[in-house]
Symmetry: C2
Subunit: 117 residues, 2 copies
DNA sequence: TTGACGTATTCCCTTATAGGTATATGATTG
DNA sequence: CAATCATATACCTATAAGGGAATACGTCAA
């Protein structure tokens, strides 16, 4: 099997840095494709392709405005990622794992020193 | 160019559901590979391969314990993901985008109604 | 209608995934 | 030392990514 499609969920869609950039830009407000093309310095087709992925996981909404297509952020699909991360948050904030690290080093030292019976 | 390697960063490593499961299991404490194999119901080589990816992005630490290898969670590399998400948090919590949605619908209705002038 | 503009899609290519299966490596026991 | 356990790696296959380039499509202006 190959890797899961980028359009499987927000986790996969957002793993690509360019797509995160796009979302970051859209966070400031609605924008037509060409704006993004300029801001990102990418070729237009690549931007359209990234936008397609973001659309498929519902991270952006589109609206037709004349010959332009206005893209707008829809952050809701990011919530599952945030929710999943919640349980790990203490690990880096409160240095909860400091204790684990110490225990680890103790065990390793123990093995090194007292290894010969 | 192909997709970025899964070992590029935590974003990519964590896009795979199995690897998130592994981290979830390790969140409860250190475990040898075979424990994970049983708990996940996966073949041992696949588990080892997932663990390798997690190791390469430093999401797990290993410790030799006799013929077993004890894996432990290291959540720190998840922080960048959390940090990136921070700016979107309000979007789903406080329904900040409700306003945007309303504006959107107004615009669309406007277009529908006043289009034939 | 013709042409220019804004955007999406298609095709080609290189690369790497994830799973399956077999096997290699390292540590322990007898 | 041989056998076994715990884990890692190698090899194979199918699949699809993302970039580049060309082109198709829809809209508006003259």
């Amino acid at each position: 099997m190959a890797r899961a499609a980028t359009t499987t969920d927000a986790f996969n869609a957002v793993a690509e840095p360019r797509r995160r950039q796009i979302l970051d830009l859209l966070a400031a407000g609605e924008r037509p494709v060409n704006d993004l093309v300029e801001l990102l310095g990418l070729a237009q087709p690549q931007v359209s392709k990234h936008l397609r992925v973001l659309r498929e996981v519902d991270l952006v909404h589109v609206r037709d405005e004349g010959r332009q297509r206005m893209y707008r952020l829809n952050a809701e699909p990011l919530k599952p990622i945030h929710d999943w991360l919640a349980k790990y948050e203490q690990s880096w904030n409160k240095r909860f794992d400091l204790m684990d690290d110490v225990l680890d080093e103790l065990k390793e030292a123990e093995e090194r020193d007292g290894s010969d019976d």
